[in-house]
């Protein structure tokens, strides 16, 4: 894992002091809320429905047990005993006091963490494949490139007041586990003629106008990665729309200019930038890489004793194939039946930290599906790990099933929401668990957002639910056929919306249609793609 040197630490410490000073000026009345808001947002501090909310960055979703422990301790010391893991691979606290915020940032800085650029119209936390460095199918570990981008994007002097927020994802496998093409810039590390480079996809996103990013260059040499990114950003900063907040994301610029014209402008800027020497020295990437070197894997058992069916089910569902055949990556589900997706108590967070120390070379990952991964678990340790997880209510065997849904905080926490998301998630998981249908349905990605901003990725759900406001009453739109994997697609709305009870029933109905007509090996998404919307509509509205 990356470790800060004194320079990185100095930057973060300086930021804590800068923010302490800003908070002081706000509390003393030297800054109005209008002036303070963009500053607190740059430090991840929102004002939400019940209190201030703090969003902590977890760069590319990777952290060690000391960092995880600190997150648990902060939940207990400054919040109300829990935190919420999000689709942006970071953590949110819901009950923060402005008076405490600088102290929290100082506590985070002690373990090389921060909340920098987790909000505001700047380059946000960089996300990546949660199985990076462990997956059997990756070309290289994408995280050194993500780290290079993290440093470049931190306090970037030119790109701190962009037209709108800017999200970058980096992957290095054909299988996309990071919704790469639904980011402002998606970077895939690829190989061409024996050389490693980066393919750039620009202009994806969700929100009210979901778009899938087109590829604008299939190969950027690695020693020009930052230069090319800088060119992409400069064109956006200069020409992205600023007249309308809802049209300000880069996806609209790319769409309005057309991919070809945007690409032409980027290439022109790139040619200019290459003269400016903005690329960090080549040795920098070489310095970063060893931090992500493989831990000392040992040969061990390659299979588990399956005599306990509960354990066997968990192994089948919640482990992912590792590049070393004596290891797996284990997914810790934060979706207990009837629970709040992504929430974990301070104690649970510390337990996960301890287990990472014991069983996963001190490393954890946060998934965009609001779960936690122990990336490197020895197969022979799996039973002990599962036993410990189960005892802490962290052993739900439901990865990628309908119970593993994504749900944004919705109207229970979020000031922008139209409707609640969490109660839907809770009721659906209870219902499908009780009827035993979860198992039959297999992989089914349900994603719920409480408003059009789409933090819950509903556009990319095999089944998506969107909360809308219908004359002051919560109402829900259902959509089908989305995917955020390598076969990216956007879900289509089925038709008129439903009440809370109605939408739960509707989910039941569309899954019944699938179970009736599916062919061998078809997932819900495959069936939908084969038969189209009509049979589902019929079941829902006739």
């Amino acid at each position: 894992m990356y470790k800060y040197d004194s320079y990185d630490q100095q930057m973060v410490d300086a930021r804590v002091e800068e923010f302490r000073d800003q908070a002081r000026r706000r509390l003393e009345g030297k800054l109005t809320e209008d002036q303070f808001k963009p500053l607190r947002l740059m430090n991840g501090l929102y004002l939400q429905l019940h209190a201030y909310m703090l969003r902590v960055a977890i760069p590319y979703g990777t952290l060690n047990s000391a960092q995880m422990t600190a997150l648990g301790d902060i939940a207990d010391k400054y919040d109300r005993g829990y935190g919420h893991f999000t689709t942006r691979q970071n953590l949110q606290y819901n009950w923060i006091k402005l008076e405490d915020a600088a102290d929290i940032l100082a506590d985070l800085a002690k373990v090389e963490m921060h909340a920098i650029q987790t909000s505001g119209n700047c380059i946000r936390n960089i996300s990546s494949d949660h199985f990076a460095g462990a997956a059997h199918d990756e070309l290289v570990d994408p995280r050194p490139y993500a780290e290079l981008l993290r440093q470049w994007s931190s306090f970037h002097p030119e790109f701190t007041y962009l037209p709108r927020k800017f999200k970058i994802a980096v992957i290095a496998a054909e299988k996309d586990r990071a919704a790469m093409r639904l980011h402002d810039i998606g970077i895939q590390i690829v190989e061409k003629d024996g050389k490693i480079g980066a393919a750039f996809y620009v202009g994806g996103g969700m929100g009210r106008t979901p778009m899938i990013a087109p590829m604008i260059r299939d190969f950027v040499p690695l020693d020009q990665l930052i230069t090319y990114a800088e060119a992409c950003l400069r064109v956006y900063n200069r020409y992205g729309r600023r007249d309308n907040k809802y049209k300000a994301r880069i996806k609209i610029l790319v769409h309005e200019l057309g991919k070809d014209e945007y690409t032409r402008q980027v290439e022109e800027e790139y040619a200019h930038m290459q003269q400016q020497g903005v690329e960090p020295p080549r040795e920098e990437l070489e310095r970063i890489k060893p931090f992500f070197a493989d831990p000392a894997f040992e040969v061990g058992a390659k299979s588990v004793d399956r005599s306990d069916p509960d354990f066997a089910l968990w192994v089948d569902r919640n482990t992912h194939r590792h590049k070393h055949d004596s290891y797996v990556s284990a997914v810790i589900s934060l979706k207990p039946v009837g629970g709040i997706p992504g929430d974990a108590t301070g104690e649970q967070i510390r337990i996960m930290a301890r287990l990472a120390q014991q069983y996963s070379f001190d490393e954890l990952r946060i998934m965009h599906t609001q779960n936690v991964v122990l990336p490197h678990v020895k197969i022979e340790d799996l039973h002990a790990l599962w036993t410990a997880l189960d005892a802490a209510d962290l052993g739900a065997p439901n990865m990628d099933s309908i119970e593993d849904m994504i749900a944004c905080p919705g109207l229970d926490y979020c000031a922008l929401a139209n409707a609640r998301s969490i109660p839907l998630a809770q009721r659906i998981s209870e219902k499908f668990d009780a009827s035993g249908k979860t198992e039959k349905l297999g992989e089914l990605k349900l994603k719920i957002s409480g408003c059009i901003n789409a933090c819950g990725h509903h556009h990319a759900g095999h089944i998506g639910i969107l909360g809308v406001d219908r004359k002051g009453v919560e109402n829900y739109q259902l959509s089908l056929g989305g995917s955020e994997a390598e076969d990216t697609s956007l879900a289509k709305i089925t038709g008129p919306g439903f009440t809370e009870d109605g939408v739960i029933e509707a989910v039941e109905k569309v899954t019944d249609v699938y179970l009736d007509v599916r062919e061998d090996g078809e997932r819900f998404l495959d069936t939908y793609r084969r038969i189209g919307m009509a049979p589902f509509k019929e079941a829902l509205y006739d």
Partner: protein, 149 residues
């Protein structure tokens, strides 16, 4: 011709030794048409690159920030410096303490905020970062460079 610009006494912070330019400031369009203008003011929507042919005769370029949240002026500034402009680059308009250090890094060397800023807070802001990650034309050695010297 009307003078659009800020006068030298509105400049609150200046990091240059030469005498401040004090003559009529014209719009970017006027600058391109008019061969004798030595000071120009550009707005967020202006393309700074239209000024590149005239850089040798310009002593002052003002970049207006009607609202601090509109960051186009940062790109304008860098583009001008990247093209070798060495005259005064003055940020004017809705400037706050917390934008100063980034502006300085993008090449601004004079600041004329609409509302005067607290001098002590500003001084602290200008020196916020001991070191920086990105290469700009401000000449500072970056952290990645310092790591490998």
């Amino acid at each position: 011709m009307t003078d659009l610009g800020t006068s030298p006494d509105e400049v609150q912070f200046r990091f240059r030794d030469d005498e401040p330019a004090d003559h009529g400031t014209v719009t970017a369009d006027a600058c391109c048409d008019q061969t004798n203008a030595t000071a120009v003011r550009i707005e967020p929507g202006d393309d700074a690159r239209t000024l590149l042919p005239f850089l040798d005769r310009l002593a002052l370029i003002e970049v207006n920030f009607p609202s601090f949240g509109d960051g186009r002026g940062y790109s304008s500034a860098r583009i001008l410096r990247e093209a070798g402009y060495t005259g005064e680059l003055r940020a004017v308009g809705d400037l706050g303490i917390d934008q100063l250090s980034h502006m300085r890094r993008c090449g601004f060397d004079a600041f004329a905020p609409d509302k005067p800023l607290d001098a002590e807070d500003a001084e602290r802001a200008f020196s916020t970062w001991d070191n920086v990650y990105q290469r700009t034309t401000d000449g500072r050695r970056t952290i990645p460079e310092l790591r490998h010297e």
